[in-house]
């Protein structure tokens, strides 16, 4: 095989690769759009009247996750299933965002941390690598860390809206989450950087709880 033949063959391979990436990018754009819609929907809970119809908002968000599942289904068909990590970078960001949104919905509904399996189910993907398009553990954890900062914000806003009870529950939840993350030996990567932000969320929520308790508002709420 001559040198130029070799390079022609390689160029063919690279072009095919580029086509795949292009296809993936298109679907990821659609996913980003859906994720933005869900986020806008859920942002409503930070405003006064939003606290009343949290269940309704969650219901609506869950309907949007149906769209996510069909989009995921089409993403899966865009590349060979055994090359997940080859194209991982393309959907990594949006997947983390979707994990956060799913975790937020589940938290608002039941005040628990969504499990990895449950998120995978909501998004219509697998939890295990063996079974196909899956949710990478680091992406799951990143999404959960985004949830922590969102909850810090929710704690502040629920006080403004006159709900003095919620910050205490959020505080307990975040503390447990913090202990969970302490168990992990993180490398010096992006996940570790995001984890380093968790302590500020913890601190913020503790301040809210402190403000409530020195004013006796926390006890009042418990009655």
């Amino acid at each position: 095989m001559s040198v130029s033949d070799m390079f022609i063959a390689l160029q063919g391979v690279l072009t095919a690769d580029q086509d795949i990436r292009e296809e993936i990018r298109k679907v990821v754009q659609a996913l980003e759009q859906t994720a933005r819609e869900i986020l806008t929907l859920l942002q409503g809970v930070h405003q006064g009247p939003g606290f009343q119809d949290i269940p309704k908002k969650c219901q609506k968000a869950r309907e949007h996750f149906g769209t996510v599942r069909t989009q995921m289904e089409s993403l899966k068909t865009k590349f060979p299933s055994d090359q997940y990590y080859r194209f991982h970078e393309h959907w990594r960001f949006v997947l983390q965002r979707l994990v956060f949104l799913a975790a937020f919905v589940v938290y608002l509904e039941s005040e628990t941390l969504v499990t990895r399996e449950a998120v995978a189910e909501i998004l219509g993907i697998e939890a295990d690598r063996e079974r196909g398009f899956h949710l990478d553990i680091e992406d799951y954890l990143s999404g959960v860390l985004t949830l922590a900062s969102e909850l810090a914000r929710l704690a502040v806003n629920s006080v403004t809206a006159g709900d003095y009870c919620r910050p205490l529950r959020i505080s307990a939840f975040i503390n447990e989450l913090d202990s969970g993350f302490r168990l992990l030996n993180l490398k010096n990567d992006s996940l570790r950087k995001r984890y380093d932000g968790l302590k500020y969320d913890v601190k913020k929520i503790e301040e809210v709880v402190y403000d409530l308790s020195i004013r006796g508002l926390a006890k009042e709420a418990e009655k």
Partner: protein, 286 residues
């Protein structure tokens, strides 16, 4: 930055003393904590594997570099055959390392750990293609490289080291495929070695090799320009260095042609050493 990170961590451990007590409230056997414990295990396993692969990759890089140095001695030494044999033995050693990489990657998605092994593989490709060029004066293909990276169990010793798990699963063969991009980057590095070979062969009074090399390098350069920016960024970045290497070789050939008839052969080396110095200086500030 490592020191900074350490200091920062140490620092934020202090004010936590107070919160620690509060932490006792967290039930260590709650659902959340149990799942995080399993996450810990999963992440640790993954990081350990990554570290092992990085180490293997480093070893592969070092041994490949040594092979390349050895091959550079080929032209000057009278015992060419011996050096080729020695390089073959060295490359076999490198391939044994690659076999270990392949064993680590059994059942894994190769691309998940690609960043760990890629530098070593590129260096290996450089070494193996350099040797192939010296032997056959042509470019080794990806298929040829991959063919040499199919391993089977040879000696009992290694079988014993294997975990029983992978022993059952695999039919005693492992293989590793270099990616087209790794191959391209390795070949781009090869051109740098060929340029060195060209200059040093002039030093040995070898007048034919430079012309052969300039022809070969031009073919590779044409190939890379054909690919252009279809490939990833790293490939187009190498194109610039490749152009410089080609220019050096072409200039060498030019000088040989123009002045070769005037200058006695034993002085050619001097002409080139000044010539290459000049080029190196021009590159200096960039």
């Amino acid at each position: 930055t490592g020191l900074g990170g350490f200091r920062k961590r140490k620092h934020d451990n202090f004010p936590h003393g107070q919160r620690r007590e509060e932490k006792e409230n967290v039930n260590p056997s709650s659902a959340l904590m149990t799942s995080f414990k399993s996450f810990q295990q999963e992440l640790d396993t993954r990081h350990d594997k990554y570290e092992r692969l990085v180490k293997l990759s480093r070893d592969i890089t070092i041994e490949s570099k040594r092979t390349i140095f050895l091959l550079h001695r080929f032209t000057s030494a009278p015992n060419g055959e011996e050096i080729l044999n020695e390089s073959e033995a060295k490359l076999d050693a490198v391939r044994r390392k690659i076999k270990q990489v392949a064993q680590e990657l059994v059942g894994e998605d190769m691309y998940q750990f690609h960043r760990a092994v890629s530098p070593g593989l590129q260096e290996y490709i450089e070494a193996v293609s350099f040797q192939y060029f010296i032997k056959t004066r042509s470019l080794i293909s990806v298929e040829e490289i991959n063919k040499q990276l199919i391993f089977s169990v040879e000696d009992r010793e290694e079988t014993a080291n294997m975990t029983s798990n992978s022993h059952d699963k695999q039919a005693h063969t492992w293989s590793l495929k270099v990616t087209p991009v790794d191959y391209l980057l390795g070949v781009a590095d090869l051109t740098g070695e060929l340029m060195r070979l060209c200059i040093s062969s002039v030093g040995n009074g070898d007048i034919d090799t430079p012309f052969e090399l300039s022809h070969f390098l031009r073919q590779i350069y044409d190939g890379f320009t054909f690919i252009g920016n279809t490939g990833p960024y790293e490939v187009s970045k190498k194109l610039y260095t490749l152009k410089q290497s080609l220019a050096k070789v072409e200039n060498a050939c030019y000088t040989l042609k123009v002045r070769g008839s005037e200058i006695p052969k034993h002085m050619l080396a001097d002409v080139f050493s000044t010539k290459t110095e000049l080029i190196d200086q021009e590159e200096g500030p960039s």
